[in-house]
Symmetry: C2
Subunit: 109 residues, 2 copies
Amino acid sequence: MSASLDVTLAALADPHRRATVDLLRQGPRRAGELAQAAGLSAPAMSRHLRALRLAGLVEETHPPFDARVRVYALRPGPMAELKAWAEAAEGLWSDQLLALKAHVEGGGG
Amino acid sequence: MSASLDVTLAALADPHRRATVDLLRQGPRRAGELAQAAGLSAPAMSRHLRALRLAGLVEETHPPFDARVRVYALRPGPMAELKAWAEAAEGLWSDQLLALKAHVEGGGG
DNA sequence: CAAATAGTTTCGATATGCGTTAAATATTGC
DNA sequence: GCAATATTTAACGCATATCGAAACTATTTG
């Protein structure tokens, strides 16, 4: 039972946050760029980015040429865990079908 | 932009639903069994199962020996899509690092 | 130091989700 | 037909998330 997976999924559950993650796949972006690209106000995007950061999905860096700017980039960890979780389900489907057959015919247990 | 992915993620965002999916990995179960195993009341589990079903993550079957019982089993489609989505992020991390470097040093765009 | 810029945090309002209790539906068994 | 079983649906209250607007922090620029 992975608590961090719950955090990851909760963070990705919001469509705007998932869209933001998709945007970040093309490369790191500034907060303002993300807000504009996602059609969100700056505060809204800021809150979403915070949620993603708390979930460990993105990280924030300050570019050296302007410390006001915040650049966000994806972090691999949580996504890898999510992938592994989703992956683990695969390869079980054939077993599932057999088990379903047995369960339905046998009466469960 | 995959709307179905949003539905999948929203469905999996709830800890109880994710736990239910984890339970179903071991094989199909009756609604009552799932409720008991997850420590939820029957109505609560019923609504979670509905959410999972609407997301296409589980399917419902009636065993022939008792039509009152509903057996739930995992469905592969949405999970596969989720896996593919999470997978697509991987293999981009090295590029991400390069892009971050370029972005930070170059001034962005 | 004042003005402008980038972004975040707070505040108030609305909306959505979850759980429990009670009622309803469908089905089984006597 | 009537009581019991398996599960869902409905109604209510509570907690939480989200948004926009306004205020705030930090930093750059003149």
